[in-house]
């Protein structure tokens, strides 16, 4: 999504376009690591040293209502997702990293169709998280039962 498209999208929703909002939106949209509010704050601070967390929370709420991003609540804090297509997230229980995977995208899409058609539930969106150990953390853990 170009900045021009982003501006048009926001105007479409009757939302005022400010430099802060553009910076926050782009920080999320141009990321794949599902940043937390703190991470967004750090990434935007260079250009807007006076920006506070309140503005970020406010803007993220606006962006979510406009259908640009999705909040992903976790136990400690929320993260923010820019990939709204049905897909699978891999969540490492060790390092906390969250990455999208292309594996199973079709399956999630079919699952969404199934739920939409076969249930009395009006589906808006979905979140599919697989929790476990990423390759790096799996390697550091349990050194294959090596003898002493």
């Amino acid at each position: 999504m170009t900045q021009q498209e982003l501006v048009a999208w926001l105007r479409e929703w009757g939302v005022r376009v400010t430099p802060q909002r553009l910076a926050i939106a782009e920080a999320v949209l141009n990321s794949t690591d599902h940043p937390s509010v703190q991470q967004i704050y750090e990434r935007v601070r260079d250009h807007f040293p006076s920006m506070t967390l309140a503005t970020i929370y406010s803007t993220l709420g606006v962006l979510e209502k406009s259908g640009l991003i999705q909040e992903l609540p976790f136990a400690k804090q929320s993260r923010y997702e820019s990939n709204l297509e049905p897909h699978v997230n891999l969540v490492c229980v060790e390092c906390g990293n969250v990455v999208d995977t292309e594996l199973g995208q079709e399956a999630v899409l079919r699952l969404k169709s199934l739920i939409s058609q076969e249930s009395n539930f009006d589906v808006a969106w979905q979140r599919v998280d697989f929790h476990g150990w990423c390759r790096r953390c799996a390697a550091n853990r349990a050194p294959e039962a090596s003898p002493a």
Copy 2:
């Protein structure tokens, strides 16, 4: 799961079995509505008027580490799940209710196999939430564009 099995399970994990812990565990295990900490508190208070939230938080942590329940973080507060089998949760964005559905269980299971086998990610568990409107809330909303 009988209370006897529950006690055995906890002992297996080297966890002390107290009346409070049994009450909290059963409040979650015998429920299907994914209760919040507050709801568990209210359900247990009759039998343990002096119990505090700190005990509930502590116990829920123990139960999760023992593999009996799973925390489901939401934006406002966490809920707790006793159905650890791969399945789909339906989350109403209006009333906040969360229910399990049997629809798509097979699909989630296959999806788990796919991720486990085709990725470098060591899967432990999964959470599949579909967000939208439950039948009741869908009915109250948008009265089918009826003319005035």
